[in-house]
């Protein structure tokens, strides 16, 4: 079992940095570093660098997806949901680099990401519709549903974490087993398959987070309401 939590790469006094944290920092540094380098010379004219073009495509695609899923303006949700997607997608793409284990293949990382979603959902809900109106959504069909609503909140967090962990960990694990049985060809095929699964899981994690946030920010759950364009979600 490739458990990167148990591998300590650096130790200073009582502080330990295990391999999961190191790989997480690598992905974070890569994302922020590339973005900083690219956004240093932004141009608003028609002549732009190819890197700026790439980033614009990514940001516009994420904005379009958020708008379609939530039927709201994507502005407030773009940083959170976009960061989730980019982090998970980058770590699964980097998984094809030999020696790199995706940090999302460790249960601690995925639990942390799911806890971020658990905290973000009430924050966005309260910011959008106020404390009392948000808390009233827990009593939505009848007050009898309160325990079930709270349990649903917790169980979907666990489901988010375990789904991502299971997919990523099984991908790296199958490759590790196949290298022992049939090296040279089959591990490559499974790596390619893992690339596809990783991107789909990143997309699904971000979309599910957006769906949960959209459900919390909607005024009356279950009751269709018209937004600015007159469409009903």
């Amino acid at each position: 079992m490739p458990n990167t939590d148990a591998v300590v790469v650096w130790r200073w006094g009582a502080y330990e940095v295990n391999a999961t944290i190191a790989y997480t920092w690598l992905v974070m540094g890569l994302l922020t570093g590339v973005s900083c380098l690219v956004t240093r010379r932004l141009s608003a004219s028609t002549r732009l660098t190819r890197w700026q073009n790439l980033l614009e495509v990514i940001v516009l695609a994420i904005r379009a997806q958020i708008r379609e899923v939530s039927q709201q303006e994507p502005g407030p949700y773009l940083p959170f949901v976009g960061t989730l997607f980019l982090f998970i997608a980058t770590s699964s793409i980097l998984g094809v680099v030999p020696g790199f284990v995706p940090p999302t293949a460790s249960l601690s990382t995925t639990v942390a990401l799911a806890l971020c979603v658990l905290v973000a959902v009430p924050l966005f809900g309260v910011a959008r519709q106020g404390v009392l109106r948000y808390l009233r959504t827990y009593l939505h069909p009848t007050p009898l549903m309160l325990p079930i609503n709270v349990m649903g909140e917790i169980s979907r967090t666990v489901a988010l974490a375990v789904r991502l962990y299971g997919n990523m960990m099984s991908g790296t694990m199958i490759v590790a087993i196949l290298i022992g049985i049939a090296p040279f060809f089959f591990p490559i095929v499974m790596q390619l398959f893992g690339l596809l699964t990783g991107l789909i899981q990143a997309y699904i994690f971000a979309v599910l987070a957006m769906v949960y946030i959209a459900a919390a920010t909607r005024a009356h759950p279950g009751k269709a309401h018209a937004d600015r364009d007159g469409r009903t979600p």
């Binding site: 079992m1 997806q65 379609e68 899923v69 489901a159 375990v162 789904r163 962990y165 299971g166 997919n167 960990m169 099984s170 694990m173 789909i200 899981q201 997309y203 699904i204 979309v207 599910l208 769906v211």
Partner: protein
């Protein structure tokens, strides 16, 4: 048969059954969902974007039960707590 062998045998058999039953249900459900989604896309090709996005999300949610059984069987095989406890008792 001693305790260690019994625990190992039961864990491996249970892990196999867990993956078999779990993946069976998940595959059946996912197949039905995908068939319905493809039929919906064939009827309304204009809505293919929305339908395929919803299809992907629902496939992931259905698949999570299969993933749960995979995680449980991996725990049974690689990180079995009872095996570790009995092995520690035997050696210590």
């Amino acid at each position: 048969m001693n305790d260690l062998g019994l625990i190992g045998m039961v864990s491996i058999i249970t892990a196999g059954i867990t993956v078999a039953v779990g993946s069976f249900g998940a595959a059946l459900g996912e197949g039905r969902a995908a068939a319905q989604g493809l039929a919906a896309i064939a009827q309304q090709p204009d809505e293919a974007n929305t339908i395929s996005r919803t299809l992907f999300v629902s496939l992931a949610i259905v698949e999570s039960s299969g993933i749960y059984s995979l995680v449980v069987s991996l725990i049974l095989i690689f990180a079995n707590p009872f095996w570790n406890r009995v092995a520690a008792q035997v050696s210590g």
